[in-house]
Chain length 363, copies 2
Amino acid sequence: MTTNRRSLLTMGGVLSLGLTQPARAQSADRRLGYAIVGLGQYADVILPRFADCRHSRVTALVSGSMDKARQYGARYGVPEGGLYTYETFDTIRNNPDVDIVYVILPNGMHHEYTVRAAAAGKHVMCEKPMANTAAEAEQMIAACRAAGSKLMIGYRCRFEPSNREAIRVARSAELGPTRIITAEHGFNIGDPTQWRLNRALAGGGSLMDIGIYSLQAARYLTGEEPVSVSAVESTDRSDIRFREVEDTINFQLSFPSGVIADCVSTYGSHHNRYRIVGTQGWLDAESATAYEGNRLRLHRDGRTIDHPAPDAGQNQFSAMLDHLSQCVMTDSEPLVAGEEGLRDMRIIEAIYLAARERRTVML
Amino acid sequence: MTTNRRSLLTMGGVLSLGLTQPARAQSADRRLGYAIVGLGQYADVILPRFADCRHSRVTALVSGSMDKARQYGARYGVPEGGLYTYETFDTIRNNPDVDIVYVILPNGMHHEYTVRAAAAGKHVMCEKPMANTAAEAEQMIAACRAAGSKLMIGYRCRFEPSNREAIRVARSAELGPTRIITAEHGFNIGDPTQWRLNRALAGGGSLMDIGIYSLQAARYLTGEEPVSVSAVESTDRSDIRFREVEDTINFQLSFPSGVIADCVSTYGSHHNRYRIVGTQGWLDAESATAYEGNRLRLHRDGRTIDHPAPDAGQNQFSAMLDHLSQCVMTDSEPLVAGEEGLRDMRIIEAIYLAARERRTVML
């Protein structure tokens, strides 16, 4: 990566705003370097997306197995010097090619690796859910703030064209004021030995992993924060998959404007949809939050029609990766910063409380 | 209406079962006579359907206005002797052409006219919701039982082909065990002076009128009774329409099998759908409970296809009317008897309680 005249000028401009390390000033032309921590299934989804990035590249890989790290390094062009194990992870501070650490580990490890990444002077992208608890999330925000690191949560849907269009429609007057949102997310979970079914690693069950999409959707479609929540859980504890975490936990959110969101969260059946219902019609998304193939239908004046989202010119994953790079380069706050992840964690804890105590919990 | 040899034989057969008045023995060929009480909008939907009935005909009309009764009488072939006002209604006992009284009045009048119809020795079809309260419903059941009258609630969906097919699929193993049901019913209510917005006449708001379809669907699709309910209300009391009754009241039902039903009830936006989600796929109905044009789609193995219901050979209204006639003729219990209406009324009262006290109510 060479530093050209324009980038020097840009760096000067940014530096004049008083920025210092580790909120490093960056050229608009530079591609920031990502370290991917955790080479599991979702890393396999993320890594190929750097090819479509304009401001991001992968420069380091962190895995429990150096053999695996080398295999991935060969595939994605990461040299031996960019390969780390969890034991050597903290030395990443000495790697100037790494600007951002992307934590794609089980939920229960988000806190530790976010804090360690910040301590190493790196910015952080952390997968959802942000942590196992709201208390952990608060500590992660504090650690990044103290280190001068940006912290963003991997809420990819905010960078996905259908979801962006749904937000636009929901907050416009096109369907009249929104009255009701229904949001359903779930899948029939398999392998009972996976980390998602282990409380220490997952923090909870379907709500932490997939129901959080229903929660996010209700929040980003309204642009409001819920004032109360009620919830009902249904888990067959004799099912070997659900010894430690919940299966189904459906919840109702009440928003200040009077909107009610009815949300499904389950590990028992497939759901990927939401609907925004206004006084004059509705917008339906199904699939709503998939990796690709999301589809909108709009109903108004008795007719239902396909409602394609405008082409964004970039897939949701690459756009998300580039967004944090741009935030670092311009020292601006990510659209979905740590505080956004913390809001979800607090509501998730309220949902669990409401289900457990069989009462509406005020937020 | 002539009595032929076969009907005489059939009457003899039924009489030998020990039937006496007012559970009159009837020929399988005979068309029982209905009195329609209340000539409002829904009577306009029902009256033309007698043309497609095989066991039912309209023989009397009851209205606040004799002029209106005469107009309708001319249109539907009801002679002057079959026309009544609310003041003369009780003399219907002397009309041998009336077997069944169909109460299509505002909810708050269901109790009075069901009790008076039973006292007049007639069988009763009563519109949904059965009454303003569960206590009224209990009295209606007792009055009909004491009079030996059949009592059926006008739950037309149980006679509608798409709903019957949905019940079959939901209770079969075709989509795996049902895990989650979502059911949404609502419309954007207009004229603020209508009886539906008057608490004394309507008993409540959207839940009594349209949310009851979501409740019914959850119950008939599972074939189970809910064990608990939670609910959230959202009503803008500054809206002139909602001075006396609720706008939106969404509720969650928990069933013994572990199924959760998330139900929408609203007077603020249009909803007419439900979805049954099993471990292996889903069946979606939209429109679900309309007068006509209901449509089913089935999702399985990653594909969504139209799922047409078998042709029933008769529309839901005529089938419903004939069902009660046949129950009278064969002295059998209606599919949706007064007890079924009472079950809904008890759950409706629990939904109101749950919303008011912000807690899960056990049933």
